[in-house]
């Protein structure tokens, strides 16, 4: 049973919650370039540093690519590094995201989800972080500002144990600029939860090592006579670590609940899935909207459960299979699309279910791109539409439907 601790509750927006989490995590190097809607987060961090509330080096980098390069080198030398960005900024650092993961550096990045151009749009969708799903980062999505502050703290715990960088994503404006009551963890408790960063790398002139040199395709013998990895083996180790990180993520969540009283020992949030044959899947704040929609449908006698995806990478396939075992219809709402195909979470769900005994129909809806408001009743209507479509065919359509005004 989780301990309910009396905590300090303040009204914070998502960016403030993220800044507070970085401060509590005692990050040592912050390198962030302002971009809407992340800007107040980076401003808050520079304020903390200049006012002495956070003992860190705040690097006013000149681009996001540089922001991640500063973080990779700082992390390599042994400092706890933090950055934040959105949309084009995340895209700009794409090359460095691959680098950080391949270098196995425990950097935490807050991605304030925003649409990517062309055309320009500063409002929310999840295309930015979804576009980076192949880079090897752990990706966790938040539904509320409380989850933001809790997830960033856990992110360091996870990252520094498995040596994989973690991307904590939260919806621009819907969370970043919306104020909610947030219980602020106590610094002493965070210090207990987060030990000091112990790097696996060492940059010491008395015992020199050279990091991230060119590798060959094939294994090669090292100076000590041992056969060392080729590129493929090093990359295998990253995938293996991602696959195994599930245990660490759950453990970190469990221990978080012991100290802070909020339970994160899960790979996703489930709402009334036990008795539902229809499951709605959504990620981020959209999952909260989906819970409201599910409630509306239950009032009409339709039993709908909600699977609120939290950990997107590594994708929790077997957990998803277990949660969806009773589903006959799965309705996936994606605030992103892999152009030419379908929503990314829909593809993941299908991939998880393939080859299992679960024989469910799946319907995919693209919603909320570029900050298009998504109302609970729209989700409810779409679900009803999906139910009705089963009368025509149970075969999964090739491409998703869009909820927009085309």
């Amino acid at each position: 049973m989780a301990i309910q601790r009396k905590s300090n509750i303040r009204i914070l927006d998502g960016n403030q919650a993220a800044a507070e989490a970085a401060r509590l995590s005692r990050v040592q190097v912050v390198a962030a370039y302002p971009i809407t809607p992340q800007t107040p987060l980076t401003e808050q961090l520079s304020q903390y540093v200049e006012q002495g509330e956070l003992q860190a080096e705040y690097v006013a980098v000149e681009s996001e690519h540089s922001a991640m390069a500063v973080c990779t080198s700082a992390s390599l030398v042994g400092a706890r590094a933090f950055t934040a960005t959105s949309s084009h900024g995340l895209a700009y650092m794409h090359e460095m995201l691959h680098w950080a993961a391949g270098a196995r550096l425990p950097i935490v990045l807050a991605c304030v989800n925003r649409a990517i151009g062309a055309p320009w749009n500063v409002l929310n969708d999840q295309q930015d972080s979804i576009s980076q799903r192949d880079t090897g980062w752990i990706q966790i999505y938040c539904r509320s500002n409380q989850e933001i502050i809790d997830t960033i703290i856990q992110a360091y715990r996870i990252a520094e144990q498995v040596f994989i960088p973690v991307m904590v994503c939260y919806d621009g404006y819907i969370l970043s600029h919306t104020e909610m009551p947030v219980a602020i963890p106590d610094q002493k408790d965070v210090d207990k939860y987060l030990p000091a960063y112990k790097p696996h790398t060492s940059l010491d002139p008395s015992d020199p090592k050279n990091y991230n040199l060119v590798t060959l395709a094939n294994p090669r013998v090292g100076v000590d006579g041992k056969l060392c990895h080729g590129y493929m083996e090093l990359r295998y180790l990253l995938q293996e670590a991602l696959q195994n990180s599930r245990e660490t993520i759950l453990q970190a969540g469990e221990e978080y609940s012991q100290i802070f009283g909020r339970d994160y020992a899960n790979m996703f949030w489930e709402d009334h899935t036990e008795d539902a044959e229809i499951t709605v899947v959504a990620m981020g704040s959209l999952a909260m909207e989906a819970i409201v929609a599910a409630k509306m449908l239950r009032e009409e006698g339709i039993k709908v459960g909600v699977l609120g995806l939290r950990v997107f990478r590594p994708f929790p396939k077997s957990d998803v299979v277990r949660a969806l075992r009773k589903s006959k219809l799965i309705v996936v709402f994606d605030k992103n699309i892999s152009y030419g195909s379908e929503g990314a979470t829909c593809s993941e769900i299908k991939s998880a279910l393939y080859g299992t005994y679960i024989n469910a129909s799946i319907r995919n809806f693209i919603v909320g791109l570029g900050g298009r408001d998504v109302k609970a009743h729209e989700l409810a209507d779409a679900t009803k539409k999906a139910i009705a479509s089963l009368k025509e065919t149970v075969i999964n359509p090739d491409y998703p439907e869009w909820i927009c005004q085309i």
């Binding site: 040592q28 190097v29 390198a31 003992q55 860190a56 080096e57 690097v59 006013a60 980098v61 000149e62 681009s63 690519h65 540089s66 922001a67 390069a69 500063v70 973080c71 990779t72 080198s73 700082a74 992390s75 390599l76 030398v77 042994g78 400092a79 590094a81 090359e95 460095m96 680098w99 060492s202 940059l203 010491d204 002139p205 020199p208 090592k209 050279n210 990091y211 991230n212 040199l213 060119v214 590798t215 060959l216 090669r220 090292g222 100076v223 060392c228 990895h229």
Partner: protein, 301 residues
């Protein structure tokens, strides 16, 4: 007390049997840079010939800790090392960025400019072989007028070299200097001096490249000397805004300031096989004008 070949430390931080071409000037420059720092440094290197020198996993040909970083990010990587060391309270280690002209003048200019503007405490050394030599000689912002390259194969480069040292001087740095691999003692002294100065320090080293410039690899030192004797390369340092000529450029100035004609430099390198008479004359005028400016600026003549 100035060093000479006898007094200079015999300790090496570059290991023999590495992948550099025979006669590689960058290797010589790096060798003496690391001597000047006594190996008490952390080096960051972008995609470049230096990466090749460093070797391939799991063996490296250098005896200093090093962080390899993507092409555009050297300045930012150096910043990250400095910021990390500062946050950890670690002192006494110099952060050295060691990049080619591609990673400095072109793709890397943004991150270098950003780092310099922030005045982060590291030494940035650009070893300039005047082209993207690591990938087989494609033109860079530092390739000279008239030079043939993989991407200027028929007409030769139609633009002048980017004066990166002047750009870095404009950042108001405490120390900015030009060096040449053919004058290793001058290079050594400049790195030693830079080591004692706080803030962003920028050094530009002219490093002739035998396979890229098309000259016999035994002539590397001679080529670098010729560049200085013709005034195509001027050896100087600017310390807190005070301009001084050094080494062979200083001697040249003191002996009357007469430069060798640039023509003799061009005829000894295959990359200038399509340079026109017009271009040679243009370059001679340009060199003369620039030399005059340097003589005027020098405070130590």
């Amino acid at each position: 007390m100035k060093v000479n070949a006898v007094s200079l430390t015999e300790q090496e931080w570059i290991l023999p049997g590495n992948r550099t071409c025979p006669g590689c000037a960058l290797s010589l420059a790096y060798r003496h840079t690391l001597k000047a720092l006594e190996g008490q440094c952390i080096v960051t290197v972008p995609a470049s010939c230096a990466t090749v020198l460093h070797g391939m996993y799991p063996i490296t040909a250098v005896n200093v800790p090093c962080v390899n970083t993507p092409f555009a990010s050297t300045g930012a990587s150096a910043t990250g090392l400095v910021a990390g060391l500062k946050a950890l309270g670690k002192k006494g280690i110099t952060v050295l960025a060691f990049a080619g002209d591609g990673g400095t003048h072109d793709i890397g200019i943004q991150s270098l400019s950003g780092a310099a503007e922030r005045q982060y405490d590291f030494i940035y050394i650009c070893y300039d072989n005047e082209g993207y030599m690591n990938t087989g000689n494609q033109r860079s912002g530092s390739t000279p007028l008239g030079a043939v390259s993989g991407t200027t194969p028929v007409l030769g480069k139609q633009q002048y070299q980017k004066d990166m040292t002047a750009i870095m001087e404009a950042h108001g740095l405490p120390y900015v200097a030009t060096c040449s691999a053919s004058y290793p003692l001058d290079l050594y002294e400049k790195v030693r001096k830079a080591r004692t100065i706080e803030g962003t320090r920028f050094l530009h080293i002219h490093t002739p490249c035998p396979p890229g410039w098309l000259f016999p690899f035994s002539d590397t030192i001679k080529m670098g000397e010729m560049a200085v004797e013709t005034g195509l390369v001027v050896l100087y340092e600017i310390e807190n805004g005070v301009f001084r000529l050094t080494s062979a450029s200083e001697s040249l100035a003191r002996k009357g300031g007469n430069l060798q004609p640039v023509r003799e430099y061009f005829v000894s390198q295959g990359r200038f096989k399509t340079i026109t008479e017009e271009q040679i004359d243009e370059l001679q005028d340009w060199v003369n004008a620039r030399w005059k400016q340097c003589l005027h600026r020098a405070t130590n003549l």
